[in-house]
Subunit: 181 residues, 2 copies
């Protein structure tokens, strides 16, 4: 693997809501390039795969303003200041599905567009569920859709289940549960 | 499924490189909200899963400025003006791996963060490969890493293979090829 490029300089432009950084790079072969990247704000984000019974995962159906349609995907949300990954996952799960989890396992980080964004979301497996709802900030109640993990091949044919991170998270969880046996 | 919210207004702010849109929404239950979204520029993007021999897919290792590390993932790139999805896929494949494909199949669009971005990349399956290299704009040569599709469980344990779209694309391709038998 090549050595990492040297960062010779950085400059940050903060426009209301988004921060754009220009980094001045020297690659190990001597090539100099300026790359731009969007830097994430806030305290991180979590995505939760909750298992209500063996072989089933909870999806939610939510309005997605970027594509102006209702999308099926894993529950997710931003972490609060000082909140741990697992606490944030359980809070978001309660807000979006009406369930909490007694067993929470951090599986891995999933990046958005690592070539030009710093954003990363933490995938958490949630098991041993119990009913508990916390009020969220959604404009309408979210529909919870249980999905069979052995039917992901049907999910990937649906136009309204399109998010890379959600699809990746579902397949990763299936691999993890399969490895457990 | 609820009716789509009504869009009562939009306003666009264009800052060098990124366009941010505020949309004024009325949900079917009467709730009014303003949502912000990043709108993509350019002519779209493609991601290519190239199969050099049955059961194997070509990954590339490339410096990812957003996370400042070398990342393993599927080849991808932006479409040029007037270029079709399949032509863009074959061009990017030639630039990044040194192979072209006689058989190209558009599988589906994969969105980045549909809640607040309009971005979508088109996943293309590339088969019947032949050697042909086109010059790319990369600062250094990319390493091509063939990976076994039945070893995706090992790939998802690697920190340096983190991109949701790439991981999703790999699992989708495995499902598609498996369904073919």
């Amino acid at each position: 693997m090549p050595e990492l490029p040297i960062i010779h300089g950085r400059s940050l432009v903060d426009t209301d809501g988004y921060r754009r950084e220009t980094i001045d790079l020297e690659f190990s072969n001597g090539e100099r390039r300026k790359y731009q990247r969007l830097t994430s704000r806030g305290h991180g984000a979590v995505m939760i795969a909750a298992i209500p019974r063996p072989g089933t995962v909870l999806l939610i159906r939510e309005y997605a303003a970027g594509v102006h349609r209702y999308e099926l995907g894993l529950p997710k949300g931003r972490m609060d200041a000082g909140e741990s990954v697992l606490d944030a996952a359980n809070r978001e799960l309660k807000e979006e599905t009406g369930f909490g989890a007694r067993t929470l396992t951090h599986l891995r980080g999933i990046t958005l567009a690592p070539g030009y964004m710093t954003h990363e979301i933490q995938l958490v497996l949630a098991e041993d569920l119990y009913e508990e709802r916390l009020p969220g900030d959604e404009p309408e109640e979210l529909e919870v859709v249980p999905w069979q993990l052995d039917s992901l091949h049907e999910l990937v044919l649906r136009e309204d289940c399109s998010e890379g991170r959600s699809l990746a998270g579902l397949f990763i969880v299936r691999e993890v549960l399969k490895a457990r046996g």
